[in-house]
Every structure is written in structure tokens, then in C-alpha cells.
């Protein structure tokens, strides 16, 4: 082959780097037809689409060979190359999908979970201490499974496990949504049967007392089995789009989606903006497009922190942690009434506090 190629037109040389670029894009299929044949061995989970992927470059290579043998007309070759590129692009997409499947099914977690459960069952007959540990693990897995059945986000389960409070439910949400979407599916399927079967039967076979986590998982299992309506109701999660902060010039930041976030929180933009300014110790204005122009350099993370604090202070209900609240003003005092639990409390007025003199005094004459 390689000896034949230089004999033909320079168009073939042009083709070579193209081939190489294609090869860079697709790793297992990267080399020529020869490595494509071992490729299906490396990619095990790819079944149908994997075959398609393998067939693609082999056909490409064959066509290339054909082109090489024909060699005379470069236009045809180009056309075919283009066609091949189109195919390859399609195949890339196809390939990504089986790769995702591979990630889902091939990750260590689902493999590890049944192993852990099996180990737990084995350990149940041997030692009590180990039993407790294993049951704890099991319980954790079961909780996770259940919560993922609820489509709750990963953060909440993590919070349950780590005993962290949820003072910042709103703003962590948008970070966690992706994790939840990615992480839920592989976990949910292998875990669910484990939680139901092993959790109930673990202490039936042995003489020991049941541990608290086991009972807890059993309670949750029976609870959710009894009324599946809970699953859908608790799946709600308070999410807010992250604030989009741009820099305008050198000394101003633009908070573009203030109005969206305010709508999402059901709060007046004036209130939110007032809080932002008071908290960040700066001033600003709202421009024509409804964006907030903040004096000073602020990064998205910083604004997000302030928003998080606002949500904790003025949006979430203190008693039931529900974000479904209304803020009303009566006699110069803001009251926050919860829509879900009906509690009502007054909230602190926003005070900007002491503002130090910044900048030239001649510029900043007040009054």
C-alpha cells in the first residue's frame, strides 16, 4: 500500500492528512482497517451501533483502497471522501451514544453494589460488628436508591448522608441537576432490588437484632410502596439558573438575568437588587434591557453566594424549607408567609450599613 501511494497523484497525499485527522477524532478506529478489526474486542458493550462504527472505517478504508487502485479521477475521490466524512460524522454521533451506554453500564458502581450486597449477606451470618457496618452501607445504598427513585438530586442524598444542613438549597441546585441526571440512572436499577430484598430479609434469617438503618430502609420501602404519590411530590427541587455576569468596561459588572431569577424566586426585582447592593457594598442601576449594572468587579461565584444568602434569608421558609413563599410589606415591615405550611414570620429589613468613603472626596459630595 504505502509503496503504491506515492506512484499516484498528489491528491492522494492530500487525502492522507485528512485520514489522519479522522483518525485523531476516533480513537479506537483511529488507525487503518487493520486495527479496526481488533477494535470490537476493546469496545465490548457496543452491540449494534458498535458494529456500525466498526463497519464504517473498514468500508472507508476499502473505498480508499479502491480509490487508490482506480487512482485516476480525483473528483470522484473527493466526493467519496466527503461522503465518507459525512458518514464518519454520523458515526461519531453514533459512537458517542454507545460510549455513554458503556459509561452507564460499565462503571464500577453497579458492579460494586451487588458485590457489596452479597458481601453484606455473607457477613450477616458471621459477625455483628461487620454486620452493622455492612448494613449501614446497605442503608446508604438503599437511601440513595430510593431518593433516586424520587428523582431527587444527588446533593440531597449527600446531605442526608453527611448530615449537612440544607441552608443553601436553591443555588446548589443548578450545579447538582447535571449530576443527578447523569448519576441517577446507573444507580437506580441495581440498587432498588437490593434495598427491597436484602433490607427486609437480612435479619429474618439470623437471630440477631435488626439495626436502625435496616429498619429505616424497611420503613422507607414500605412507605413508598404504600403511597407512591410521595415519590412524585418530593421530586420537586428548587433550581435557579446561575447568574450570568459579564464585565462592562473595567469597573462595572452586568448581571444579565436578574429579572429571570427574580421571577423564579417570586420576588420583586427591586428587593433583590436592594439586597445585592447592600450586601456587596456597592451601587448600580438597571439598564434598558432589564439588566443590572453593578459598580465594581464581581464574578459569577460571588454574586451566586450573595443570591444564595438572599434565598436563605428571604425566600425559603424557615420552618419547612419550602421556597414557595410570599413576601408582603405591612407597616414598613416585610413579612414572609409560606404557601405550603402557612407559617408567617417577619424578615429583616435590608440595611446597607456603613458605607466607607471610597474614591475622591471631591467627587463624592453627598448633600
Amino acid at each position: 500500500m504505502a509503496s503504491e501511494e506515492p506512484l499516484f497523484d498528489p491528491s492522494l497525499k492530500k487525502r492522507k492528512p485528512k485520514k489522519k485527522t479522522v483518525a485523531f477524532d476516533e480513537d479506537p478506529l483511529g488507525a487503518d482497517a487493520d486495527p479496526t478489526q481488533p477494535a470490537p474486542d476493546t469496545i465490548e458493550p457496543t452491540t449494534v451501533s458498535g458494529d456500525v462504527v466498526d463497519l464504517g472505517p473498514s468500508t472507508a478504508h476499502e473505498s480508499m483502497k479502491l480509490n487508490g487502485s482506480e487512482g485516476a479521477e480525483s473528483k470522484k475521490d473527493d466526493d467519496e471522501l466527503k461522503a465518507m466524512f459525512g458518514d464518519l460524522k454520523k458515526k461519531k454521533k453514533k459512537k458517542e451514544i454507545p460510549m455513554d451506554f458503556g459509561d452507564d453500564s460499565g462503571t464500577s458502581t453497579p458492579v460494586a453494589v451487588p458485590a457489596a450486597s452479597g458481601a453484606a449477606e455473607d457477613l450477616d451470618f458471621s459477625d455483628i460488628k461487620k454486620k452493622k457496618k455492612s448494613s449501614k452501607k446497605k442503608a446508604a445504598f438503599d437511601l440513595e436508591a430510593f431518593e433516586k427513585e424520587l428523582n431527587e438530586s444527588k446533593a440531597k442524598s449527600g446531605g442526608d448522608d453527611d448530615d449537612e444542613d440544607g441552608p443553601e438549597p436553591g443555588s446548589t441546585a443548578h450545579l447538582d441537576v447535571d449530576d443527578a441526571e447523569l448519576g441517577d440512572d446507573p444507580f437506580a436499577h441495581p440498587d432498588a432490588p437490593v434495598g427491597v430484598d436484602a433490607g427486609t430479609e437480612a435479619w429474618l434469617k439470623s437471630d440477631r437484632d435488626y439495626t436502625y438503618p435496616e429498619l429505616l430502609t424497611r420503613f422507607y420501602a414500605s412507605l413508598h410502596a404504600a403511597n407512591p404519590a410521595l415519590l412524585s411530590s418530593s421530586s420537586k427541587r428548587y433550581t435557579i439558573a446561575p447568574p450570568s455576569i459579564h464585565r462592562e468596561g473595567n469597573k462595572k459588572s452586568i448581571f444579565a438575568n436578574v429579572t429571570d431569577i427574580c421571577k423564579r424566586m417570586h420576588r420583586q426585582p427591586e428587593h433583590v437588587i436592594q439586597f445585592l447592593f447592600a450586601e456587596m457594598g456597592t451601587t448600580g442601576s438597571v439598564d434598558g434591557a432589564g439588566r443590572l449594572v453593578i459598580k465594581g468587579r464581581f464574578q459569577q461565584k460571588q454574586v451566586e453566594n450573595v443570591l444564595r444568602r438572599y434565598i436563605v434569608e428571604y425566600v425559603t421558609c424557615k420552618t419547612c424549607k419550602s421556597p414557595d413563599t410570599l413576601l408582603t410589606k405591612e407597616n414598613r415591615i416585610f413579612f414572609m408567609s409560606c404557601e405550603s405550611c402557612g407559617s408567617r414570620r417577619s424578615v429583616n429589613a435590608i440595611k446597607s450599613g456603613f458605607q466607607a468613603q471610597v474614591g475622591k472626596r471631591s467627587k463624592n459630595k453627598t448633600g
Binding site: G281, Q302, I333, N348, G353, V358
Partner: protein, 113 residues
């Protein structure tokens, strides 16, 4: 027959009461506020406001300046009273310093981004 003006009822008493309760409900007076302000460039200013009367702001400022290796000044404000003003972002340092020296964590409010 009763003349309204002769009533012992004090019209201002009610308001005073309600204000008193409001002060209890949404009181901001007891908090120690630590704030930050941006100056030009990446310079910042930290202000400490609402220090309890039993602490000597002047001595505290001196301790701050020595501890955090920064300059600072004591500002008299009509509304806020004495405000300690330090150069740079000293918020966490101030809060840890105050907590270590026996001020409750719950009374300290750190503001800013």
C-alpha cells in the same frame, strides 16, 4: 360623659409598644456586621460595625492592625456609631479573631460576596 382629651389613654403608648415589639422581632442592633467594600483595582476595605459598648474600639483596632498586618482607622458615624475600618479583605480574620476572644458566633454577621 367623657371627654376624649381627658382620657388617660396615651395615643403614643401603643405605637411605642408596637415599635418595641418590632425591634425585638427584626432587631438588627445586636449584630456585629462585618462588611466589605471594593475600592479601585483589587483593593478592598473591610468595615466592622455594631461593636458592643463594653469593647474599646480603639484598642480593638490596634489589636486588629497588629494581628492582620494592615492599616485601619476608627470612623465616627452619626447613625452607626463607631466603625472600625481596615484595609483589605479581613472579614474572615476579624470573625475568627472575635470568636476566639469570646464573642458569640451567632452575633457576628459577615456580609459581602
Amino acid at each position: 360623659m367623657s371627654v376624649q382629651n381627658l382620657n388617660t389613654f396615651d395615643p403614643f403608648a401603643d405605637e411605642g409598644e408596637s415599635l418595641g415589639t418590632n425591634a425585638d422581632v427584626g432587631s438588627q442592633a445586636n449584630y456585629i456586621h462585618i462588611r466589605i467594600q471594593q475600592r479601585n483595582g483589587r483593593k478592598t476595605l473591610t468595615t466592622l460595625q455594631g461593636l458592643p459598648k463594653e469593647y474599646d474600639a480603639k484598642k480593638l483596632l490596634k489589636a486588629f492592625k497588629k494581628e492582620f498586618a494592615c492599616n485601619g482607622t476608627l470612623v465616627e458615624d452619626e447613625e452607626m456609631g463607631q466603625v472600625i475600618q481596615l484595609q483589605g479583605d479581613q472579614r474572615t480574620k476579624i470573625s475568627t479573631f472575635l470568636i476566639e476572644n469570646g464573642i458569640e458566633r451567632a452575633t457576628i454577621k459577615v456580609h459581602g460576596f
